[in-house]
Symmetry: C2
Subunit: 209 residues, 2 copies
Amino acid sequence: MVRTYSHAPRTRQERTADSRALILDAAVDCLVEHGYSGASTLVIQAKAGVSRGRLLHHFPSRDGLLVAAANHLATNRLKQTEERAAARLEDAPEGPERVDRCIELLWTTFHEPHFWAAMELWTAARTNPALASALRPEERGLHAAIRSVTDRIWGPEIRANARYDEMRKLLFTSMRGAAMPYTFEDRPPSTDPHVELWKATARRMLFDE
Amino acid sequence: MVRTYSHAPRTRQERTADSRALILDAAVDCLVEHGYSGASTLVIQAKAGVSRGRLLHHFPSRDGLLVAAANHLATNRLKQTEERAAARLEDAPEGPERVDRCIELLWTTFHEPHFWAAMELWTAARTNPALASALRPEERGLHAAIRSVTDRIWGPEIRANARYDEMRKLLFTSMRGAAMPYTFEDRPPSTDPHVELWKATARRMLFDE
DNA sequence: CTAGAAACAGTCGGGATTGACCGCTAAGAC
DNA sequence: GTCTTAGCGGTCAATCCCGACTGTTTCTAG
């Protein structure tokens, strides 16, 4: 069957950009919904609502598609975190009371779709060298960006603390480690006992002594 | 082709136990080598060196096999940790010097094959309810056991410390979180900068103030 | 000792997945 | 205006994987 293009006339650049974004968004969604092994090209193309030809034209191999999805995810994840941070930063208090708010805010970023998508990619990267090479530089940049966002969340006052850097690293890794079991636990992460632990530890590290 | 059994005569119980162990060990190996999606029943049966009939007789479905592999892994992981701990505990000093040794020992458990196998299962469990249900009780038991092993590693002196429990939880989750990026990083985990951070933090939590 | 079930061995069909491929349309260079 | 090529649409062959199934041997209960 032959079908004429129904799109409004567009430049090639626009078309390519649209197609890629459409497909990559779908790929990330599928990663979240079905996991790495369930994110087949067929499922992705269905989710994106594109033809097989269109998908394969832009991403000739599944590996390449998922590598691109990894990069796509990194930039999006950062953008989202920045927006969210900006939104919740306005009425944030200073001093010790700010600690609790910050920890709660940071903890939420560890059970969002983007986090799970990233985890799928990390896990898959362990046995997929192409994916690992793609992830390495991307995650480095992302990490630096995450750090700057985190710094803004905590605010200049806390950031000036001598123990701030240690606390930041410790909480970041601890939260990631605590988030993992929620792949199979179904209770709400917001009630995680670690939250209180983090609050107490952060307060002690920053304000005691 | 018809082939007579070449095995020495054995009871059914023994045979079943042998077959299951053989297959489950292979399944865990495949999980480590090829990841969850690469651990197909065909690959596992090849690794185990068993016929298709033998594999399917004991594990009629791939899901069931991987669920069983999860349980198998849990018990083995614990056993191994206990042995290792016992071996390295003998000449361990007491007091602050013990802290460094303990942290190094604990950190090694986060880049062993068993850890990666568990991570594959956790990740897969997120989009696989059957696996998630199997993991939940198993991990609960494992967690309790891990805790008791950890307690013995730290020793009674440190364990008596008021902040011990907080420190233990914090380090455990932080190590897990710090271990994840090593799916795509290829530098040696033993040089991870977090190690120094953990040592400093633990010492301060336990002995300062 | 004998029946019946467990413990295999090996084959096969159905379904899913991947990427090659052929053909067409429209964008953009000249 | 024409010509080249990017951007698709849709089909197909090859492959892989899972689990059903058939047949055979060994254990074990009675």
